[in-house]
Symmetry: C2
Subunit: 455 residues, 2 copies
């Protein structure tokens, strides 16, 4: 019988992460400080351990994965690569569709690939506590599990509205021993100042970031941890694409197009960058980042220096941004509601080396449901964005007769998102209109930087 | 590095199910009709397809797994076998602890192992629709997915109180296209009669079974499907133990003790029966079924003929029972709240060939939490029963110094049960007292059957 699932042995978990910087035609634009000058990496040492800062600025192609990290990866890695034969059949396409499945990890998404690495390097540096923020809870869950594996205490500032609406995510983090604090809290100056201004504040990711950074900066035993955007985070996620390449080699195939959803960029970078290495060496392969139409940073944003957070505390990053004050409509794919995108992803997009497409919410659920009903797995709403585009590519092949090989990353399961499916099935899910006014207003408020490229 | 995860290739998915009847010292006691005489298997053909009836009464050791079933199994099978090194370390035990993980299936439990087989054989027989019942939703989810894979419509009668309290489980079933009906419903005579007596009835598994059986019996295009108890259901689950044996062989190990939680018996049968084959051939291996102290059918029930459902519609089964009218306290391990147990499991227990132990609820969550914090996976409350006993066995080894090999089946993830963990962490979870009075009353109400063995 034809192969449906391509597995690797645990000894085939990659031994190094792939650093895309080594193959980029131009060096990454540096982050800038408030003075408009490049940030000295050592300035980050108050909240990040040395090895992660080194990874953040490294241009070395391969960064070894420490054995204790690979040991934890074994819990769910290598992840399977599937041939989606029943989906292909339903689409009547000559295309071959493959997907990698990251939803089998303990928290149910790709996030622990970097959480485990970050927890390990912090543990190695003698750090005892990690602070982070979480919106819907995917990232907080991953760091809660990873911290526990290396004996670190974890504080998660969870946006208050999610804390109240998603109690099971909080319970998951607490089951792994993390402390979950609804944000804005009374435990930080940042939180208190928000509460003074607005005692009923339901919080935001920007406020939660401020609280976590403040805790990390003010305690010598505590560091900060981020789930996307930064170079080292994308680096850790490359285990996804590296494994996929080994798996394609086993069946003698190779993708014509690689599709991944893109919020902060870690899922896209992790899935697509290892294929970029081949592209840089001359191989034909399209790399497609998929974002929500209601938060279209790559496809509608400005390429400009902007803050990474919404409050304006972080260094300035050169990225496609909708403006750091932009608040995306409340779509169910919470992990894709970010005003910017990873600088590495943005630079490759700016240079025309990768593609991006924005899709509306209902079409993503339609795609996710077809996937669930053919392949069995109910995907996370973020993942549905990639599935939408993979299906569109496969349908185009049905018209042209091209037997393309399409690969996408199924970044997580949707077991925590079933109320969203429920709303879709009940016909209650709306496509948020393109938030033109809000984006225009936020873009008018970009920080003034001397080295800002023309908008 | 030492092996942590033992994988099989998809070609190593078993090609046959193992039928324990072939190795039992005595033939299984037959089910009896209302007249006290053995039921003619053909009487079941109104609600089951021919091949499943044949499997139900077969004594053939190996039953081939049809290729289309293996094809769907590939979505999550073979499942990994893990060595729980971090748990061993936390316990300071010389024992080796292994667990198989069934929570990576699309619905998150072992249930689809039989759901897919049942859907296939019904599809093969030309059946267009399946009806079933579900309590918390694990079984209904598995059948919803399996039915969809073979183009069958699925009706799930869901106990009304769960339907209202667990909307995400309903959404999951609907995402796969199943119709979910709160029971008691207005769609069946059984449902209507209950509603007439009690318009505010919150339902029960017994009522839901009655409704599903009635729908199946009254429509020629519809069959009934059951998630545990029956011989053919346990048969399908033996892929768990069969894979585990191959995996142990790969690392040159073999369990001294096999532990599995036991409600209706399909998880225990599926995990332990393949090892029973070796035991019957003279090998030393202990097989331990774990049940809740609040629903202790094996350890405190009578070995007697009793109805399989709580209403008294099914044939009489010879089993350890607490009485079909017994309503267990509302523990979180909903899948273990069954008044009886699979007749095959009961007969082996009655003959002293397997062991059983009952454990209190809080101790199971304590064990599950230690497992989550060492191995990463947050288990289902049912699974926590097995983990409790595996940990107790390993702790005993720490005292005696014996390097035993302990194997348990991690039958599902706990992503839908996080409120239960929350209650445990908040100190709100109680141990239900042993329901002595309720059991005594229910046992006094066993059906009168001429061939009833001495109580």
């Amino acid at each position: 019988m034809a192969v449906t699932k391509i597995l690797l042995d645990e000894s085939e978990i990659p031994e190094s992460w792939y650093n895309v910087v080594a193959d980029m035609p131009n060096a990454p634009a540096p982050p800038l400080g408030p003075d408009g000058k490049p940030v000295n990496p050592q300035a980050l040492s108050a909240i990040f351990p040395g090895p992660l800062i080194e990874q953040e600025v490294s241009s070395q192609r391969w960064i070894p994965i420490p054995e204790p990290v690979r040991e934890i990866y074994r819990l769910w890695r290598p992840t399977p690569l599937y041939r989606a034969r029943r989906l292909e059949q339903a689409l009547g396409t000559p295309a071959k569709i493959y997907y990698k499945y990251e939803g089998g990890s303990p928290p149910g998404s790709h996030k622990p690939n970097t959480a485990v690495a970050q927890a390990y390097f912090n543990h190695l540096a003698g750090v005892r506590r990690l602070a982070t923020e979480t919106g819907a809870g995917q990232w907080g869950s991953a760091l809660a599990m990873a911290g526990r594996m290396f004996g670190l205490e974890v504080s998660v500032y969870m946006v208050r509205v999610s804390y109240e609406q998603k109690p099971t995510r909080r319970s998951m983090m607490e089951s792994w021993g993390a402390r979950v604090i609804p944000s804005p809290s009374a435990e930080t100056k940042a939180g208190l100042s928000v509460r003074e201004r607005d005692p009923n504040s339901t919080g935001s990711l920007g406020i939660a970031i401020s609280e976590a950074v403040e805790e990390a900066a003010s305690r010598s035993d505590t560091n900060y941890s981020l789930g996307s955007v930064l170079n080292h985070v994308l680096l850790h996620q490359t285990v996804i694409g590296l494994e996929a390449k080994k798996q394609f080699a086993k069946v003698g195939d190779y993708p014509d197009v690689v599709v991944a959803c893109c919020g902060g960029g870690s899922n896209f970078g992790g899935s697509a960058f290892p294929f970029f290495a081949d592209k840089a060496a001359g191989r034909q392969v399209r790399l497609v980042a998929v974002e929500p139409e209601s938060c279209p940073s790559l496809t509608r944003g400005h390429y400009a220096y902007d803050f990474g957070d919404s409050v304006g505390l972080t260094p300035l990053l050169l990225m496609y941004t909708l403006g750091h004050r932009f608040v995306p409509p409340p779509i169910h794919a919470g992990g894709l509601r970010y005003h910017g995108d990873a600088p590495l992803v943005c630079q490759l997009y700016h240079e025309g080396l990768i593609e991006a497409v924005a899709v509306p919410q209902r079409a993503t659920f339609e795609a996710g449901l077809l996937f669930a009903r053919t392949e069995g797995i109910i995907p996370a709403p973020e993942t549905n964005h990639a599935i939408r585009v993979a299906i569109d590519e496969a349908r185009a092949c049905a018209k042209t007769g091209e037997p393309k090989t399409i690969f996408f990353n199924c970044s997580g399961h949707g077991h925590f998102d079933l109320t969203a499916y429920d709303r879709y099935l009940a016909g209650e899910l709306e496509d948020a209109p393109y938030p033109e006014e809000a984006i225009r207003a936020a873009l008018a408020d970009l920080p003034k930087v001397a080295s800002q490229p023309p908008g």
